[in-house]
Subunit: 311 residues, 2 copies
């Protein structure tokens, strides 16, 4: 298995990426290799005198897509960027998953142009993870790819989120809930009211109804469905609660799961391949955990399961 | 000043309401009276042998609107309910503010039918309070009255939220921010993109741009504008973080401000009068704090300031 990581992506690249790869390297089983996609000299500089472990490879690239760049333009103008090359490798199946903490837009557009959406997928969704009091994580989608969603999209997020929870997280018959401002089906915005009607008759997954803000963490569901606006807002808010309380000296295991580093990566679901994005601020620990999640995701063959479900 | 509280509203009424009134009674200045609107015998039963303090009055009512009842029907069928009577007193200006932890829908409809919206207000909004790291609270609106909002409504929430922050909370030239999933003005849903364009040219308040989920608590703004879906979700989520961490033994002052009891009441803004709702689960402490907020709000004459601004 080859897990490729964009060595040039993120606020602390290439340093944090290379260090993350070194951190995870001793924990990987024999058949797993990390492929650092990026500038050879820059990666070498981070390594310094340390030898490259046998399970880390470098694919040299000469260009970088910066955080602020326009995704489509940048991808067209920089064919030798780490993101462009990563997606080329993914399309050619030379790697099993491509991960980046770089320009999210470029990752999204690059995925749609290279491996493309699975046929039947309305819009790919980005997955986040909501820590539960039990210690588990619920799958939260969408967390930012689609600020405006149609009811049909939310219904489909329920389906692909359920497949992810089942195969990648190993939860049998995952419960799927819809974020709303009340428990009753006639509550909420027009879009979620309509989505509820689709979800409650959808036999492809186990819909358990509406989920209020007070129950995001209380083990009431395994998959949390919402539009990308709501998902993004709550995920960033949870991360900030962790940051603030940590800076105030609070130490708690449940709270520590709100730290973005705890999982590290956010899969883009609904693609013909494994693609994962990460926080721009990703630390070596976050990169390490993203690689471990990527491994789990590749093993679960979840993108093929989604493809099968939709065909 | 007469602060009326629905003694029959809330999961723990009349007990929690009466105890809350007793709790706040010694702290009120001479000219302030609490009016308990509800069943005299039920209130008397909670009092037991304790005498009614001189600054608490009872207005007897014989009916109760229950939590699950349809607002419009219940108000029509129960003219002697505590909510119906409370609004009658408010309309007649026999009281200065009406507060209830009861049926939120009935409070909303009752307000619109009795004191009515201020002319020019598109939709009244419910106000929540987002604790800031500094110890202050930011005004958050809407937190649930309007799940779907037009851009013009969000712009107006900015205006009335700013007036509330200025007069009731005493913040000069309050900063107003719009919840979004990025800092740039072209980010987010179509509605917030359009709202941004209105807000940035609105000279009636001090718009400081978009606010991401990571900055709800970081003192970047005094007023946080969003639709009632988003506001409801984040407020309930913050309350649940407090509940969970408290149950895990975490003690922290900033965290304690996420407790709904810290403020206790949520004003409905944009009405011709002072109306405040509270959590169904309100405790005596929450009721006490709601009464103290109501006092501050009456003193600030904020509803008249909003009326003046819109005329």
């Amino acid at each position: 298995m080859k897990i490729a990581v964009d060595a040039m992506g993120g606020d602390f690249a290439p340093h944090a990426i290379v260090e993350g790869a070194l951190l995870v390297s001793p924990e990987l089983p024999e058949q797993v290799t990390v492929v650092l996609v990026g500038d050879q000299a820059a990666i070498q500089e981070v390594l310094g005198d340390r030898p490259l472990p046998g399970n880390i490879e470098i694919v040299h690239t000469s260009e970088v897509i910066l955080m602020g760049e326009h995704p489509t333009k940048a991808l067209a103008q920089k064919p030798n960027s780490s993101i462009s090359v990563g997606f080329r490798l993914l399309k050619e199946q030379a790697i099993d998953v491509f991960c980046s903490a770089g320009n999210t837009g470029a990752m999204h557009v690059g995925a749609l142009f290279s491996v493309k959406s699975v046929e039947g997928i309305m819009r790919p969704a980005i997955v986040g993870f909501a820590p539960q009091v039990s210690g588990q994580f619920a799958v939260l989608l969408d967390i930012g790819a689609n600020a405006d969603c149609k009811p049909e999209m939310l219904d489909q997020f329920g389906e692909i989120g359920s497949i992810y929870a089942k195969y990648t997280l190993g939860i049998p018959n995952p419960r799927v809930a819809l974020i709303n401002i009340g428990e009753e089906e006639q509550k909420g915005s027009l879009v979620v009211q309509a989505a509820y009607q689709l979800m409650k008759v959808n036999k492809k997954y186990n819909f358990v109804g509406n989920l209020e803000g007070k129950d995001f963490f209380t083990d009431k569901t395994d998959v949390i469905v919402c539009d990308g606006f709501t998902g993004n807002v709550i995920l960033k808010m949870a991360e900030s609660v962790y940051e603030i309380l940590k800076s105030r000296g609070v130490n708690d295991e449940f709270l520590s799961h709100m730290n973005y580093e705890a999982i590290g990566g956010s899969p883009i679901l609904g693609l013909n391949g494994n693609v994962m994005i990460a926080h721009g601020i990703s630390s070596p620990l976050a990169i390490k955990n993203m690689i471990l999640l990527a491994k789990r995701q590749v093993e679960s063959e979840v993108y093929l399961k989604i493809k099968q479900a939709l065909s």
